[in-house]
């Protein structure tokens, strides 16, 4: 049974068809990348999965549950976490605070115990902070725990967003262009970290990228879309030489040289 299934998903905005007949399956533990030129509908698909948009047609199933058109917070509660293309960090919280928000959905104490400072709550808060620092540590951000997130360089902000998403202990992680704005060394570090996550915890990762270079070495499966439709699917080697894919990307030097 696959973890995530999209069946014939269509999304129309008025007259514009953003996603057309998109179907795919993700198995648990898989690392898959969704690639395509700008404006091909990649983020829209993520928005459909995470519940920000409701599909005009089609069905989305996660862990054998129908999540089509469900509210985003409910979907997150089921185990899907995501990052955003334009980083969406919480400016009013420090770095650690951002990560701790990710822990919130797993909080067992009710507001009253928090308001009254009951020991049950204090213990949970303490545990949350420890776990939060561990996450930051794993991403080399621990020394920045109390910094203002907007003061961080772009690459670090992206890592923070990932740490925050991981704090929800998801089963499926949607990363929207995680390597954007990173220098080669950083994106390599990120890809290593993604591999590390897959090796250590029970996680499925669905990745959006528009740079082939970043994903071809670690993603065993690529889905290529253009104008909201899948035009190719398979291993990086096969994809790179697929004429349809090359045509869709024509002119984008970065992709052609891989």
């Amino acid at each position: 049974m696959s973890l995530l299934t999209l069946e014939n998903v269509v999304k129309r905005f008025g007259g514009l068809v953003a996603v057309n007949n998109f179907s795919t399956q993700l198995q648990a533990g898989e690392l898959c990348a969704l690639i395509g030129p700008n404006g091909s509908g990649k983020t829209t698909i993520f928005n459909l999965i995470s519940g920000i948009y409701e599909p005009t047609e089609g069905k989305i199933t996660f862990d054998e549950q129908d999540v089509t058109g469900k509210r985003p917070d409910l979907i997150a509660g089921l185990g899907i976490a995501r990052t955003f293309q334009n980083i969406r960090l919480f400016r009013g919280l420090d770095v650690l605070g951002n990560v701790l928000v990710g822990h919130h959905l797993r909080l067992k104490s009710d507001p009253f115990s928090a308001m009254l400072g009951l020991p049950g709550y204090s213990r949970e808060e303490h545990t949350m902070r420890e776990e939060g620092m561990e996450l930051l540590d794993a991403l080399n951000l621990a020394h920045l725990a109390h910094e203002d997130p907007t003061s961080l360089p772009y690459g670090q902000q992206r890592k923070l967003e990932i740490a925050r998403a991981l704090a929800t202990k998801p089963r499926l992680l949607l990363l929207d262009e995680p390597a954007a704005g990173m220098i080669r060394a950083e994106s390599q570090e990120l890809m290593d970290f993604i591999q590390h996550i897959l090796n250590t915890v029970d996680m499925t990762i669905f990745l959006i990228e528009h740079q082939m270079r970043v994903v071809k070495s670690i993603c065993p499966r690529l889905i290529v879309i253009d104008h909201g439709e899948i035009i190719a699917e398979g291993e990086p080697a096969a994809i790179q030489n697929d004429p349809r894919v090359i045509e869709a990307y024509l002119g984008v030097g970065d992709y052609a040289t891989g």
Binding site: H104, A114, R164
Partner: protein
């Protein structure tokens, strides 16, 4: 904020630090209570009234800050909830004889005619009723986008007022209620104010507080992390309404006379002004601003009646204080958006930092006592 250190010395230092702060807070509280006792027994009614008003406005400002500063929801219904609390407490505490005297136009409804409660239960019921009102109003209203929420809550506040004007047999309509027993004293008002500050602070510092701030900063991202927007907004809203109701109750039993006009949008605007000037996102700011506001309003009262400036007779200008306040408010919004405290809170650690800074500067000269610890 304490840093996490895992060395033994670090842990020991941290636990020592915490208890130092707790001891200091305890001492400060004792000093404050001592002041309240002295004040309650020694100051004249006029000054006591001002001090009580300070507490009431503190409650109003802190609760507004919770909804707007921390959760990012511009709710302009504060006056309405205060009205609910005030009228509830008034109707419950007014003596039977007073009720008869008040309701000369139309007799009060039988249910309330013979009710005469003590202060504490009346205040608590006032808070609960206001909270229920908040729940009922918040449930539909908080689903609205920011701008609409403002108007919707403004509208609700006005609806409450219109209803109170028309419910002759319950609220005595525009005639209002006179002779409300003056139960409010410094212990009640500041007691509740401190409780409000404590509860709100604890909430704001907790995971729920972070969730509220995340909603304020970016609803989409907050939702993507599993935060139920409606539930959390409603939490802040209802909690806020509860304490506003209590504030209203304290007000009613302080000023002894209330009518629907006391709770017009004007009151809400004042509260917004106080909270903004104190700094959205700072409870310390709200408290200080509320106190400063109430005190200055009284101090400046003379400018509204004719007075002498040396040899010149200056005609009084009624309403001038509010003009000054609104000008100040606009100036703060335009030029100094952070307000007095921005989003910083007073903390003992901060105070000690200031001490050591002053110490370093004075080192070399004779040992001078720390300059003016009261910095805010």
């Amino acid at each position: 904020m304490s840093t996490t250190t895992t060395t033994e010395a670090g842990k020991a230092r941290r636990s020592l630090r915490l208890s130092r702060n707790q001891i200091l807070t305890g001492i400060a509280l004792l000093v404050f209570v001592g002041f309240l006792i002295w004040a309650q027994n020694n100051l004249d009614p006029y000054k006591l009234r001002i001090l009580n008003l300070c507490a009431v406005y503190t409650i109003f400002a802190v609760t507004f800050n919770l909804i707007f500063g921390y959760t990012g929801q511009l709710s302009l219904g504060h006056a309405g909830f205060a009205a609910v609390g005030a009228y509830t407490a008034a109707l419950l505490t007014l003596s039977v004889a007073q009720k008869q005297a008040n309701f000369f136009l139309a007799p009060i409804i039988p249910l309330l005619a013979n009710v005469e409660w003590g202060f504490l239960p009346a205040v608590l019921v006032a808070g609960v009723l206001a909270a229920v009102t908040g729940l009922l109003i918040g449930w539909p209203a908080l689903r609205l986008r920011g701008d609409y929420l403002a108007i919707a809550t403004l509208g609700f506040g006005e609806i409450i007022r219109v209803m109170f004007v028309n419910w002759q047999r319950i609220t005595n309509g525009s005639l209002g209620l006179k002779g409300i027993p003056g139960y409010t004293n410094l212990y009640w008002s500041w007691g509740f104010a401190l409780i409000t500050i404590f509860v709100v602070k604890k909430l704001v510092d907790s995971s729920y507080g972070r969730a509220l701030k995340s909603i304020r900063d970016d609803e989409v991202a907050a939702q993507a992390l599993g935060i139920n927007l409606a539930r959390h907004k409603l939490l802040a809203f209802t909690l806020s309404s509860f304490f506003v109701g209590i504030g209203g109750a304290l007000l009613a039993n302080l000023i002894s006379t209330i009518d629907p006009n006391v709770f017009r949008i004007f009151l809400t605007y004042q509260i917004v002004g106080i909270a903004v000037m104190g700094g959205m996102g700072s409870l310390t700011g709200s408290t200080i601003a509320a106190i400063l506001y109430t005190v200055f309003l009284e101090v400046l009262r003379p400018i509204e009646s004719p007075f002498r400036l040396g040899s010149i007779q200056v005609p009084g200008v009624p309403g001038m204080r509010m003009v000054l306040f609104s000008v100040l408010l606009l100036a703060v919004i335009l030029f100094y958006q952070k307000g007095l405290f921005g989003s910083k809170e007073f903390s003992w650690d901060w105070l000690f930092e200031q001490f050591s800074k002053v110490r370093t500067r004075l080192s070399g000269a004779q040992a001078a006592p720390p300059a003016g610890p009261q910095q805010e």
